[in-house]
């Protein structure tokens, strides 16, 4: 029987070398490209008609747009409008990558920490630059909680600084570990079905059916959490503490 971790194996499809760097086209890149093409397809084809009464695909595109637009408006305010395209792209890409991973025999790019950490680091560096550009040195007041006695600040400021710098790690590990754990669990229970055979295999099969539904919810939820945390970080950088 195959190991449950085998589905996360990265295979080179086309070999490329740029200098000393290994820039091969892997199955991970392939599925990322599929996700981008599908996401673009939904939005471009869905919005082609621009009907006043939207059809099915147009409703999907509009629903996704409205959902993120509301999220940005509620969490960042009017100044967040500039960053809306970025957050929509981030959400749709993670959503499609997660959802495509639920197709049997596919590959989940977001189950690798390299991919999620790159996105989280981009968010972290971007948000820090936005904060510094907007507030200059005043940005560092983010690390000093208001209305706290002087003696407590000695303890609180290092905690705030550490919790700020741990953000890219928690953001990326959350997404990657969710995908890894869910897919491994599905595979382990799939193994139970084969092992118990026709006699007792029905119980784990029923569990898999239920768990696939939960896993679809988690695929959406993690994309949502990634997007909303990006919004909250952006709000911190733009408005400092309010």
């Amino acid at each position: 029987m195959h190991s449950p971790m085998e589905q996360f194996e990265i295979k080179r499809l086309l070999d490329f070398k740029i200098g000393g760097l290994d820039a091969s086209f892997t199955n991970s890149s392939l599925w990322m490209i599929i996700a981008v093409i599908l996401a673009t397809g939904v939005f471009v084809v869905g919005m082609r008609q621009r009907a006043l009464v939207p059809g099915r695909l147009q409703s999907v595109a509009e629903l996704g747009y409205e959902f993120i637009a509301n999220m940005v408006r509620d969490n960042v305010g009017d100044q967040g409008k500039k960053y809306f395209p970025f957050i929509l792209t981030l959400f749709i890409f993670i959503l499609f990558a997660n959802m495509l991973g639920m197709v049997p025999y596919s590959f989940t790019p977001t189950s690798h920490i390299v991919v999620t950490f790159a996105m989280a680091l981009f968010v972290f560096v971007g948000v820090t630059i936005i904060g510094l550009a907007r507030h200059g040195m005043h940005f560092f007041s983010l690390f000093v909680p208001k209305g706290v006695p002087w003696a407590l600040l000695i303890l609180l400021v290092p905690i705030e600084i550490i919790s700020y710098f741990i953000r890219p790690f928690s953001l990326s590990i959350r997404l990657f570990a969710n995908m890894l754990a869910g897919h491994t669990m599905l595979k382990v229970f799939g193994g139970f079905v084969v092992m118990l055979g026709i006699v007792g295999g029905w119980a784990p099969l029923a569990f898999i059916v239920v768990f696939t539904g939960l896993e679809l919810l988690i695929a959406f939820l993690q994309a949502y959490v990634f997007a909303i945390l990006t919004c909250l970080y952006l709000n911190d950088a733009i408005h400092l503490h309010h």
Binding site: S170, I173, R174, A177, N178, L221, Q222, Y224, V225, I228
Partner: protein
Amino acid sequence: MDASAAKLIGAGLATIALAGVGVGIGNIFGSFVSGALRNPEAAPRVFGNVLLGFALTEAVALFALVIAFMILFVF
């Protein structure tokens, strides 16, 4: 003790973190249900926050999972 035996024990110990996460997730949904029964009209508005809290708490469980995997496969 054998190093591989110590690894297995360590990975098992790493799952103790699930106790805290169980309390946390139960607390989130328990508070939501009791709040929703008191004021059913406000329930849909806070459901997004409930899911966010659930995902944040669940992430702690997954940190434990990552540590267990690191103990088992990396070292």
